[in-house]
């Protein structure tokens, strides 16, 4: 076997994580099998009909940009990248009459630990993102867009480039799209290993060919974005939701979720479940249903805790989590956040100190170093958790951790500082006895940790 053949044996097929048939009312991942990602397959699934509809190319009346934005507002679609900001509202911030160049950017720099949904969307249904971006470009009067893709999923970046090429050849990208007056050029770019570039202004810096250090806000990208021009940045899954909304209407989308939390959402379930993978379900579905879809907690184990929205989200104990529904409002009310929808499940064999040790190391490693509270604070957090894990902790360390975290939070340019602080504070809040046990006995409360 040559190198390619050797490596080919270990490629993910998506069968276990995406084509398991265990979605509920799927819109984005519906009907996919891993082979049907091409333009003709997407069109056979109703793809690019929303674009044809708004342009009125099939004889129907065209939709105006205002009507498109109104429909997205009505749908209550909220940003799927983590912040949950209302998409229609964000689109309405763009200065439509701005005389110069404006940009549209798709944030596919999916690096939040636990999150692996955008990879499957781009790999198995790339045209749905392209169509969503064209519709957004039309709504905001933008003629150039970039999709910035996580460097680690290079094969997915290449797949997306191929899909863009297909769309260009078919007259769906470029000048005079489908014979209309709409012009939109779309290109793919890639990162190369920097968690911070998932932050939208760091991403813009990176796209400009610089270190990915976040910008001070305001000004926000809508007024000063890529190359200093008005720019809208949305997550991959957000764009992927748009074609369905246009085809079926804002009300229909809203109704398949719950008020203020429209539509379906893809949850990446990882950790201690029988079937880790991506599950697309309506917003507001009980967590217990999602856990069942993912095969439940590992056989013979009980649920201990869940990080419901990616590693930056505060951990929740099982008792609180089992009462939650999976939507922005329910998870926020429980004291955490839905974030990117990455659900990290931990069973009763897990040591919270060791888990936090790995997370704190991550934030220290990925801090861009720009703001002192984050640069110094993440290192401090990591070293203190480290010494507790290694049996060198002091009883005062828990208060010290909380104090350091408190002094990072809200004092940095971007949210990485908060993202480093929140898991620490939540772990101590909910599992303090475990930390105290570690300090007193220099060992885990749960020695079964593997």
């Amino acid at each position: 076997m040559n190198t390619q053949q050797v490596l080919g044996q270990f490629q993910a097929t998506g069968v276990e994580t995406c084509f398991h048939g265990r979605h509920i009312d799927a819109q984005i991942l519906d009907g996919l099998d891993g082979r049907n990602w091409r333009l003709k397959d997407y069109e056979a699934r109703g793809g690019y009909q929303a674009l044809r509809r708004i342009l009125g190319v099939d004889g129907e009346e065209a939709m105006s940009p205002d009507q498109v934005i109104a429909t997205v507002k009505e749908s209550a679609l909220r940003g799927r990248g983590g912040a949950g900001f209302p998409t229609g509202l964000k689109w309405s911030f763009m200065p439509r009459q701005f005389p110069g160049q404006k940009y549209l950017v798709c944030n596919s720099d999916e690096g939040e630990p636990g999150t692996c949904k955008d990879r499957d969307i781009l790999q198995f249904n790339p045209h749905i993102v392209i169509e969503g971006m064209i519709i957004a470009a039309y709504a905001m009067g933008i003629s150039v867009g970039y999709n910035y893709i996580h460097g680690e999923i290079f094969q997915t970046y290449e797949r997306f480039e191929e899909a863009v090429h297909e769309a260009r050849m078919a007259g769906l990208l470029g000048d005079r799209i489908l014979g209309s007056s709409l012009n939109f050029q779309l290109h793919a770019a890639h990162g190369f290993g920097a968690y911070i570039c998932g932050e939208e202004t760091a991403l813009l810096e990176s796209l400009e060919g610089k270190k990915g250090q976040p910008r001070f806000k305001p000004p926000f990208p809508a007024s000063f974005g890529l190359y200093g021009k008005p720019t809208t940045v949305n997550n991959t899954e957000t764009f992927a939701a748009v074609p369905w909304i246009i085809r079926n209407g804002g009300q229909a989308y809203l109704q398949c979720g719950k008020p203020n939390n429209g539509g379906t959402k893809i949850y990446s379930v990882s950790g201690d479940v029988e079937r880790p993978g991506n599950y697309e379900i309506p917003m507001g579905t009980p967590f217990s249903v999602l856990l069942d879809l993912a095969g439940g907690v590992r056989t013979g184990r009980k649920l201990k805790a869940v990080i419901p929205g990616g590693s930056s989200a505060p951990v929740l104990p099982a008792s609180i989590m089992m009462d939650c529904t999976m939507d922005y409002d329910s998870i926020a009310k429980a004291g955490s956040m839905l974030g990117s929808g990455a659900v990290i499940v931990m069973d009763d064999s897990r040591c919270m100190v060791k888990s936090l040790q790995r997370l704190s190391y991550f934030y220290m490693h990925e801090s861009c170093g720009q703001c002192t509270p984050c640069r110094e604070g993440t290192g401090w957090l990591s070293r203190v958790v480290d010494r507790i894990e290694n049996g060198l902790g002091r009883q005062s360390d828990m208060d010290l951790l909380d104090n350091v975290a408190e002094n990072i939070q809200g004092r940095t340019i971007c949210a990485l500082g908060d993202a480093a602080a929140m898991p620490v504070r939540a772990m101590i809040k909910h599992f303090r006895p475990e930390f105290e046990y570690h300090v007193a006995h220099k060992t885990c409360m749960v020695p079964a940790y593997v």
Binding site: M1, Q9, F10, I153, H190, Y195, G209, Y227, S270, I344
Partner: protein, 163 residues
């Protein structure tokens, strides 16, 4: 020296951006150079700087900021194993330990025959596929049980005639 083929790929990347924003292609150019020569040499940085009209130091800033650029020569196969929490919960760290044993090196080191470099890395964005690793920045290997890790290492050694 960067080859003519790589330079042609540079041109394709530059064409994605406005004429006065050639610098935007630096990430892609560095990745292409690394693919060709195995790492980002100072020579490659200055060639790219000249090609894009950047200060060499501005290129070097990019090389050193992003985790995946190799700042020195690495083994022919760089194996990056994710050990972040979701992977740690599903044998990611165990996979790294298994490779340390199999290759007889610690993470961060290279084998004496120059075939392998082993590294721990942060989230690859494939958490449901754990244990997961990235080979030479571009090829993701999923569900890497100990048997599959052995198969991978043995297979690559055989492909290089060093079985």
């Amino acid at each position: 020296m960067i080859s003519i083929e790589s330079r042609a790929r540079f041109e394709q990347e530059v064409a994605k951006y406005p004429a006065e924003q050639r610098q935007s292609a630096v990430m892609a150019c560095l990745a292409i150079a690394q693919q060709e020569i195995g790492y980002v040499s100072a020579e490659a940085e200055s060639e790219i700087a000249e090609f894009l009209g950047m200060a060499p130091m501005a290129v070097h800033e990019v090389t050193t900021f992003y985790n995946m650029y190799n700042q020195r020569q690495v083994g022919k196969y760089k194996l990056n194993v994710c050990t972040n929490l979701p992977c740690q919960l599903r044998d990611g760290s165990r996979a790294l330990q298994h490779l340390e044993k199999k290759l007889g090196i610690r993470m961060g080191e290279s084998t004496e025959d120059g075939l392998f470099t082993l590294q721990q890395c942060e989230c690859l964005g494939a958490c449901a596929d754990s244990p997961v690793l990235l080979v030479n920045d571009r090829t993701m290997c999923s569900f890497m049980t100990d048997e599959k890790l052995d198969q991978l290492v043995d297979g690559l050694r055989a492909a290089e005639g060093k079985a």
